[in-house]
C-alpha cells in the first residue's frame, strides 16, 4: 500500500475516551478517526488534557471509559505483550525531551538498532547498515554513529530519537511537543524533516503541541482541547483562520505575530 491511496477504513479509531484523576477530569468524551497518512494536531494550553489524551492513546495510561481501535484491533483489551509489541514495531512515540526517548549511555547506532534487535535482527552488519541509513535520513553524519547521544546537540538528539523510532517502519507515530525545547532555527529543520518523512513514509501522526505554527505546517486536521474536552476540531487552516469556539478564537488571537 502506498502513502497516497486512501482506503476508507481508519487506521486508528478513538471513541468516547475518558480519563479522570479522581474528581479531576483528564480528558473527557474524546472521539476521532485517523486515516493512513493523516496528521492530527492536538492543541490546548497546559492542563487542557492533551498530554493525558496522548498517554491514553499510546497505552501509557489506562482510560476509564471508551474504545481505541488500531487496524481493527482493540488496543485496550489486547494482552500487554501484544500492546508492547505494537509499541515497538507498528507504533512510535517521540518524546518532548529526547532523554526520555533515547538511551543516553548507548551509542547512536545502538539507539537506532535497538528496535531492530527487539524484533529479532541478529546480523550486526545489517543492523549497522540500517542505522547508518537512518542517521543519514535524519541528517546526522555517519561518523557520529558510535558517539553517545550526550555528545549531541538538542536538535541532533531529537533527530536521533526520530530515527530510532522510525527504523522499524511504524505506521502510527505519537509526538509530544517534538519541537518543544529547541531553538527556532533547529525547529524549522526538524519540521521540514518531519514533513518529508510523513509524506514519504505515509505515516499517520498524532502530534500534541501548544505551538500553533507547528500544527499549521504539519497537521492536516486539528483538535482544540480545553478542560479535558475537545471544544473544536476540523481542517487545520480552517480552525486557525475561522475558529468557531470562543476558546479557539482566544488562542488564535493570543499568538504573537512576528
Amino acid at each position: 500500500m502506498n502513502a497516497f491511496s486512501k482506503p476508507d477504513t481508519p487506521l486508528f479509531r478513538v471513541e468516547n475516551l475518558t480519563k479522570s484523576y479522581g474528581p479531576r477530569i483528564g480528558c473527557a468524551d474524546v472521539s476521532f478517526d485517523l486515516y493512513p497518512g493523516e496528521v492530527l494536531g492536538i492543541v490546548g494550553e497546559s492542563g487542557s488534557g492533551k498530554s493525558t489524551l496522548l498517554s491514553c492513546l499510546a497505552g501509557h495510561l489506562t482510560p476509564d471509559r471508551g474504545q481505541i481501535t488500531y487496524d481493527g484491533r482493540n488496543t485496550l483489551s489486547m494482552a500487554e505483550a501484544e500492546r508492547r509489541k505494537l509499541a515497538r514495531t507498528d507504533w512510535a512515540f517521540v518524546h518532548q525531551n529526547p532523554r526520555d526517548g533515547l538511551r543516553m549511555g548507548v551509542s547512536a547506532g545502538g539507539n537506532v538498532g535497538e528496535r531492530l534487535m527487539a524484533v529479532g535482527a541478529r546480523h550486526y552488519g545489517d543492523i549497522r547498515a540500517q542505522a547508518l541509513d537512518w542517521l543519514g535520513r535524519v541528517e546526522i553524519a555517519g561518523d557520529r554513529i558510535d558517539d553517545r547521544p550526550r555528545a549531541f546537540s538538542g536538535g541532533m538528539q531529537q533527530r536521533l530519537q526520530i530515527a530510532r523510532n522510525l527504523v522499524t517502519g511504524p505506521r502510527l507515530v505519537f509526538m509530544d511537543e517534538p519541537t518543544g525545547g529547541l531553538d527556532v532555527s533547529v525547529q524549522a529543520r526538524l519540521l521540514d524533516l518531519l514533513r518529508g518523512l510523513v509524506r514519504d513514509l505515509g505515516l499517520s501522526v498524532i502530534i500534541v503541541t501548544h505551538d500553533l505554527a507547528v500544527v499549521r505546517l504539519l497537521a492536516h486536521r486539528l483538535m482544540v482541547m480545553k478542560g479535558g474536552f475537545v471544544v473544536e476540531q476540523g481542517l487545520t487552516d480552517q480552525v486557525l483562520d475561522d475558529p468557531q469556539h470562543g476558546y479557539t478564537q482566544l488562542l488564535v488571537s493570543s499568538v504573537l505575530q512576528v
Binding site: 551509542s107 547506532g109 538498532g113 527487539a118 546480523h123 550486526y124 543492523i127
Partner: protein, 280 residues
C-alpha cells in the same frame, strides 16, 4: 568439630526451608530469578553471602564440600567460606573436584567435568543481565515476562561498535531453554560452553540482590551472539607453565618488574592432578 553454638550450617531450619523452596522453584523454571529473603550472614556482601546461603540450605552431614575462588582452593575467600562450613556444619572437605558432592564457586566452573549428583553453587553479585542498560527493576521483570530481550543484543552491539568484536569476556549472557536470558555470574566466557548440558545441578545465589536461579542437569544453554559475530570461548593463547595444559583457562602471573610473566591454570586442583599424573 562442629561449633555447638550454631544450628547445622549456621542458618536456622525455617530459613533453610525457605531457601530450599526458592531453589526448587528455580530448578522448575530454569534461568528465572526467584526472589528469596536473604539473611544477614557473618561476612560482608560481596564475599559470597548468596552462595553461602544456598550451600547452607543444600548441605547434609554426609556431604563433601569444595570451595573455590577464581578456580583456586586456597585464596582468602575460598578458605574463609570452607572454614565457615567446617565449623558450623562439620562436613568433610576436599580440594578434588571429582570427590566433592557440593562445590561452591566464585568466577569459575571447574575444568574437570562434573557428574550426576554433584551440585555447583555460584556466588552472584548482580543477577540481572538486563541491568546494564535498564536500571528499573519493574521494567526488567516485565521484559523477562514478555521475553523482550532486544536490549541484550544492544549491549553486544555496543561491544562490537566500540571494540570491533564482542569484548564481553565474563558474565557473558546466555539464553536458557530458549526462554529466560540469564547472567551466568562473572565466570569467564571460556566456561560458558560448560553451562549447557551439564550433568550437575547448578545453583546461583545473589545475597545482596536476594535472588536465586538455577540450571537443572542437562539444560540447554546458548550464549547470545550475532550471526556475523558468533560466540567464541576464548582464553590466553598459551599453555600452562606448570602442567603444560593447552586446554585449561589460564591466569597470567607477573613474576618480576622486568616484564616477566607466566601463565598457569586457574583451576588449581586440575593443575595439581595433571602434575601428579605427569610425575606418576
Amino acid at each position: 568439630m562442629t561449633d555447638q553454638a550454631y544450628n547445622f550450617a549456621y542458618l536456622d531450619e525455617q530459613t533453610k526451608r525457605m531457601i530450599r523452596r526458592a531453589i526448587l522453584k528455580a530448578l522448575a523454571i530454569p534461568g528465572y530469578q526467584v526472589p528469596f529473603a536473604s539473611r544477614e550472614m557473618p561476612m560482608p556482601y560481596g564475599w559470597g553471602t548468596g552462595g553461602v546461603q544456598v550451600t547452607a540450605a543444600c548441605l547434609t552431614p554426609e556431604d563433601r564440600l569444595k570451595v573455590i575462588d577464581q578456580g583456586s582452593d586456597d585464596t582468602t575467600n575460598a578458605v574463609s567460606i570452607r572454614k565457615f562450613f567446617q565449623r558450623t556444619a562439620g562436613v568433610a572437605i576436599t580440594e578434588k573436584t571429582a570427590e566433592a558432592t557440593l562445590i561452591q564457586t566464585r568466577h569459575r566452573i571447574p575444568e574437570t567435568a562434573l557428574t550426576q549428583g554433584q551440585i555447583l553453587v555460584y556466588q552472584v553479585p548482580i543477577p540481572e543481565p538486563l541491568r546494564f542498560i535498564e536500571p528499573r527493576e519493574t521494567e526488567t521483570r516485565k521484559m523477562h515476562e514478555l521475553e523482550e530481550y532486544g536490549l541484550m543484543h544492544v549491549k553486544l552491539y555496543e561491544d562490537i561498535a566500540r571494540h570491533g568484536q564482542i569484548a564481553t569476556s565474563y558474565a557473558y549472557p546466555v539464553r536458557v531453554e530458549g526462554r529466560y536470558v540469564m547472567d551466568p555470574s562473572p565466570i569467564p566466557k571460556f566456561d560458558n560452553p560448560k553451562l549447557g548440558g551439564n550433568a550437575a545441578i547448578q545453583l546461583f545465589g545473589a545475597g545482596r540482590e536476594q535472588r536465586i536461579y538455577a540450571l537443572p542437569p542437562y539444560t540447554d544453554v546458548v550464549s547470545l551472539d550475532f550471526d556475523d559475530h558468533p560466540f567464541t570461548a576464548t582464553k590466553a593463547d598459551h599453555g600452562c607453565n606448570i602442567c603444560g595444559s593447552i586446554h585449561s583457562y589460564l591466569d597470567e602471573v607477573i613474576t618480576d618488574d622486568q616484564g616477566g610473566r607466566i601463565f598457569v591454570c586457574s583451576d588449581t586442583d586440575f593443575c595439581a592432578e595433571r602434575q601428579q599424573g605427569t610425575a606418576a
